[in-house]
Amino acid sequence: MRKVSPQEAVASINDGAVVMIGGFMSNGTPEILIDALIEKNLKNLTIIANDGGTLDTGIGRLIKTGAVSRLIASHIGLNPLTGQFMNEGKMEVQLVPQGTLAEQIRAGGAGLGGILTPTGLGTEIEEGKQVIEVDGTNFVLEKPLKADFALIRASIADEKGNLFYRATTRNFNPMMATAAETVIAAAEEIVAAGDIQAESVATPGIFVDFLVGGEPYVD
């Protein structure tokens, strides 16, 4: 784990990268890493995230720049530009049920070959996928999701990269920390090892490759 600036943290993200970004309607999204990505003027990014943020917050700010050619998300309703780009063919959007998305990312990080879920049976979600019967009940086989990079946000990090998330900012961040080749965490505050109680660590430091401080405080 290395402590770096936001620019150094995203230096190896290039055109066409697959990037997971934590947060739920921008709550728990690493805004300083989004800033650093926007500065790079990238093209053809695939973003995996819960939602498309809003026009002024989170992933929505990145989408607005035209850097994203594909979005895998559960909800895009709070960002009208997402739907517009989708209709204009500027961006491909794959909508996934939220619980399925969370489990696909978890499966990607947990070494699983996929998950079997009843969600989406009989709907467009089932199309083109294997339906598997287990003890008389049908399930949809959903494959694991992985990424080149995960950009996640913590409230507090320690010098070893251990992460603590306040309240609802946790959401997709812990799963994403396990499912990407390179994990970049932005924290409001970086404290000494031991200053976060071991029981309060939701993401162990071994998962974090780059740590960035200075994520804006929220209160």
Binding site: N50, G99, T123, F172
Partner: protein, 215 residues
Amino acid sequence: MSIKEKIARRVAKELNDGDVVNLGIGLPTMVADYIPDGITIHLQSENGILGMGAVPGADGYDSNIVNAGGKPVTVEKGASYFDSAFSFAIIRGGHVNVTVLGALQVDQQGSLASHIIPGKMVPGMGGAMDLVTGSKKVIIAMTHTAKDGTPKILNNITLPPTAVCKVHQIVTELAVIEVTKEGLVLKEVSVDTTPEEVAAKTEAPLIMAENIGHF
């Protein structure tokens, strides 16, 4: 009282002490304002809260705490937070007693459409598909007809399904309808309407309960 308040108040009567309840955005959220005295429920928010409280006043605002619509919210004493995978373990795993959500269409099999109007409205399903699939009881809280008066309770939904055969009950400003294997059973009507008027505004056939109540 507005139509929405009327629906929310009637839905609240379906909740039992100790229930884990997920309320959708909009009208369903208003159900929390009408929980009967003596009943304690645990509000689950799919972004990672059990024990969600009211919308904060100016002094209790903490933007670390939001609801599934991304709006600031408070938590009750004894609440807990968790990640999205755990949140949907609660939802999909059958640990939510009641889910209340809106719909564009519901049919006599209990299938519902709520997440897409192809070519027009494509917000995404969010947590709705998981919620209606995993919850023990699914209540649809919606206006009885569309704005132009066309029925929303149909023989068969025509929009893409959000889930198939998952709805247990429909509560509108006019009626309380239960989804059964035999079809839709009209259990209650609003005091300002009649079973005949409800049937006229419903495309799917209604089975009249023996004693139709009023609310």
